[in-house]
Amino acid sequence: MLSGVNKHFGDLHVLQDIDLTIHRGEVVIVIGPSGSGKSTLCRTINRLEPYESGSITIDGKELPSEGRELARLRADVGMVFQSFNLFAHKTILENITLGPVKVRKQKPEAARKRAMELLERVGVAHQAEKYPAQLSGGQQQRVAIARALAMEPKVMLFDEPTSALDPEMINEVLDVMTDLAREGMTMVVVTHEMGFARKAANRVVFMSDGQVVEQADPETFFTAPRSERARDFLGKILTH
């Protein structure tokens, strides 16, 4: 469904000749040390970061460069940010209905009803009339997931969704994501949560220095990594 071929860019060369195919319904977890380009990869998929060469196709369609075409494509790609990025001047409910009403041209009433269902599902329906700053980080991130889901995306991108959260809030977000994965959503998740990777991933992609070093199913990757760099990385994070 999504074949990213050969993207590399920047004088830093943060993504070097990446080839990656993600199939419908697959949950791909991208891990790797800081600065390895995994966030950039995630942001490149819906072109929040431009790239110089190579191509990205979604459902066989090439990613358009800018303008309305790209906006339409982005509507099909849900994105969840590390820093939530809920619209600070809108209520939780308005945050979720903005896209469906303005982009999908849904009726406000229908969009509101659907938004409440989604909020119910992520467990923050009782906060619908509040503003983002009044919610905890974990609640905000779950709203951000609901906002992305409201667009009925073909694929969801998660850019370190739990990195800005207090430890006790990480699980409430991961639970929502695990449910999503179980329901068959296509997901690309950049994360440091190895437990989640083991539990939810169909495939683990290990990146280092802008390259995909290793791809494997989680069991193989965590127990018998092939590459030296992956062994080194896992050794550092799994020992404590």
């Binding site: 906006a71 099909d76 849900g78 994105m79 940010f81 990025n85 619209f87 896209g99 009044q134 992305a148």
Partner: protein
């Protein structure tokens, strides 16, 4: 003292100052908003024009701009608006005050845009809003909220800067103050207090209003 008040006609002068301040504020807000939108627009030519405008006007003295309008445009080039001299002077006085303060308003609005984290625009794009829609629904509403307090400061400064209009013979408070001092030097301090009170009546409520408004519409992050 009663004679001074009667002859000096402070009420008429206050009314002139009020008109300069209100009309000047309206002009400055409209013009400043246009310049600010040009400044953040994706077109380099508009950005260049806006940047030049702000740099040029903000760094020129108001007196120079006012003299240019009244002596350069009105008297030399004969661009007269209105029937009598006082209307003509008022018109160019308002234009000069608007043009000058629009550069500050534009900067205040731009600072409002700068208070918005980049992630807000990214999130707007990520749900598929095109540039215009993300500007309208996400960026501008937050920018205006963030700019309320600095815009209030500009309006207070504008109110007090109307006194520059005295230099081209517009009969507002400062010019009336000067003539009153000439005729009634023994009431000097009283005249000062009177003019000060007139300005405080204008600026104090403005300041309180904008402080209240900025708190009320502030975006919590």
């Amino acid at each position: 003292m009663a004679e001074m008040l009667e002859r000096a006609d402070f009420l008429a002068a206050f009314w002139m100052t009020l008109r300069l301040a209100v009309l000047g504020t309206v002009g400055a807000l409209l013009l400043g908003m246009v310049v600010a939108i040009m400044r953040v627009s994706p077109f380099t030519s508009l950005q260049f024009f806006a940047r030049t405008y702000v740099t040029l006007i903000r760094n020129s003295p108001l007196t120079l701009i006012l003299f240019f309008c009244v002596f350069g445009l009105q008297n030399s080039l004969g661009m007269r608006v209105g029937d009598d001299l006082s209307t003509q002077n008022l018109f160019w006085g308002v234009v000069a005050i608007s043009v000058y303060h629009a550069s500050f308003i534009a900067e205040a609005l731009r600072s409002g845009v700068n208070t918005i984290p980049l992630g807000q625009a990214e999130a707007a794009r990520a749900i598929g809003l095109p540039f215009g829609a993300s500007l309208r629904h996400v960026i501008m509403p937050q920018a205006v909220r963030g700019a309320v307090a600095p815009v209030g400061n500009v309006i207070i400064a504008l109110t007090k800067n109307t006194t520059v209009a005295a230099t081209v013979g517009i009969a507002e408070l400062a010019s009336r103050m000067k003539t009153s001092i000439e005729f009634f030097p023994n009431l000097l301090y009283l005249i000062f207090v009177l003019v000060a009170v007139c300005f405080v009546v204008l600026t104090l409520p403005t300041g309180l209003f904008f402080t209240w408004l900025s708190r009320k519409v502030a975006v919590q992050r």
